[in-house]
Subunit: 373 residues, 2 copies
Amino acid sequence: MGITPTLDGLEVTWIKSITFMIKFVNLDCKSKVMKNIVYLFILFFALLSCNENKETPALNSTTTDNSDPLPSWKAGKTKQAILNYVSEVTNEGDKFVPIMDRIAVFDNDGNLWSEQPMYFQLFFAIDRVKELAPQHPEWKLKQPFKGVLENDMKAVFSEGEHGLLELVMASHGGNTVDEFEQIVSNWLKTAMHPRFDKPFTDLVYQPMLELINYLKANEFKVFIVSGGGIEFMRPWVEEVYGIPRDQVIGSSIKTKYDYNDGNPVIRRLPELNFIDDKEGKPEGINQYIGRKPVFASGNSDGDLQMLRWTNSNTLPNFKLYLHHTDSVREWAYDRTSSIGRLDKGLDEANEKGWTVIDMKNDWEVVYPFELKR
Amino acid sequence: MGITPTLDGLEVTWIKSITFMIKFVNLDCKSKVMKNIVYLFILFFALLSCNENKETPALNSTTTDNSDPLPSWKAGKTKQAILNYVSEVTNEGDKFVPIMDRIAVFDNDGNLWSEQPMYFQLFFAIDRVKELAPQHPEWKLKQPFKGVLENDMKAVFSEGEHGLLELVMASHGGNTVDEFEQIVSNWLKTAMHPRFDKPFTDLVYQPMLELINYLKANEFKVFIVSGGGIEFMRPWVEEVYGIPRDQVIGSSIKTKYDYNDGNPVIRRLPELNFIDDKEGKPEGINQYIGRKPVFASGNSDGDLQMLRWTNSNTLPNFKLYLHHTDSVREWAYDRTSSIGRLDKGLDEANEKGWTVIDMKNDWEVVYPFELKR
């Protein structure tokens, strides 16, 4: 595929629109409208659901040999800090942490899989509107749908908050959790990431898969704590990360049980339930887990409250930030990015001595497919 | 202790008040006000919280020998139905259920521990108001607090919904989750059940502890799904049931993260978040677990939607109702009880062939302390 590693080289019309949108976003980055748009990205995330049965082992998880549980991590202080912490808290001594307290929490977008050029769930939302369009001929004439159908993201965003909210409700609501699970699963089977031309679930980070497995092997209970939609994640996290779906916390919409004449269903309502971002992360951790983590891993300012909450644990704890520094293999962004901004968090990590992953220099490989080369 | 096994024989003033309240409830049972009062019982339940670190194995869990995993269950069709189901779904065959799908859900009040003469959490609420009274001299003159302080439950209930809500907010709000955990833990150490003069956590059902352990041994993941307050249960369920606190679903109030000048806390707000009863149970299961159970155990009409939801699983599934038929060792109540009413559920269980435990005849012992005699 002749796709260059930067967005500039992309030629397909649809991709051009996305690129335009991203540029638009960057241009207008300091305005209040932009702040609201970023907030609404999270709304998009909140609107995804599912409930199905599937038993699947973790894919892409490298079998680690005994000598190195983290083979895709380069030797250095980051890797050593992780190894030291896990060793200290699992061996009897003054830093020992009982198994029941070994709670590890991981952000998802930009932390376990990529989040550029926009949150993957937003690709889903756009595709979903296009898929539903034949049932809504009125959308051809009505913004923000018209903009989506004509790949005119400028028109979409010019509708402001209200327009984006309309898009979200139309693309994610009005089905049961079972139906939604199927919709997400089907989408993941065919949708391709524009830069890599690979399924989105191929763009998970190999070193993080190894870290999850390493923690699990040391009897940590690993949870995902993401701003993304809880029911957008559940259909695939077991297969991709090896994390059970009841160990996923995310943003959600309200649902309603319906007896449905003896065939009970849970319906998804177009009403926000919970935003699992910033302050919402410790609140969600308390609501779902009921115990303060000892290990927290994130990549943006939206994870800062979760890391602070973990840092306040009286037991020995570990805070990990992933810094996107690799413009060649992945992306390089931090303090000014409208998606996954890492600014205050980076300052606090440096100030408090939290561990920061330098993606470019700390990771031997980024994606699992690099291993197969 | 000269306490007879029926309420009529109780003599202590405080107990008399409780008895009066129960009678009052029964007298007025068909009125709309009563319906609201029962609803408000659930509000009480919603208001309890905590977050602390403790590693504790399941107490009271009888070591089962290889020949009989359920020694406190009498031989008979109920016990056999449970053994048959677990055997069928865990051995390869057309009824096999993959491990990841082995989700079991248990109601708590009246199902894992007793719920008479009133929900144990309501004893906590009343004690809490009394404990806080010195800081609120105005309560001596103000209902419903005056009623609680004077053990005049009639006066309390005559205040109606608003009064009970006041009681709930005053007795459960205004602290952090850590503080609330400590309050609940301390209460459980000293509070005694009026009939048995034992700690409330002694009044768990030995046969159900064995069932939980049996399911866990067969790689079921066991969750509590209770109308009770999630943060009222979490401080003790690990120790008493051997169920991790992240596998507890219950009613909850809203919480708010506060950075608190570098000492982050989660504060409990006097605002309802979620009622985990009736339709709320399948909704809660979807929200927390994200997968339909194959095994559901309850004791009241409030569990019916959870059992129906489980019954709609395409995998082989098991629905279990506990029928309180033992007026000597525990209590006997069903269709007309204001607490733990089992009416529609009993009809549906009979109609659909769900398994119903006859407490009096199916259980060798009820409480773990009977084993020590």
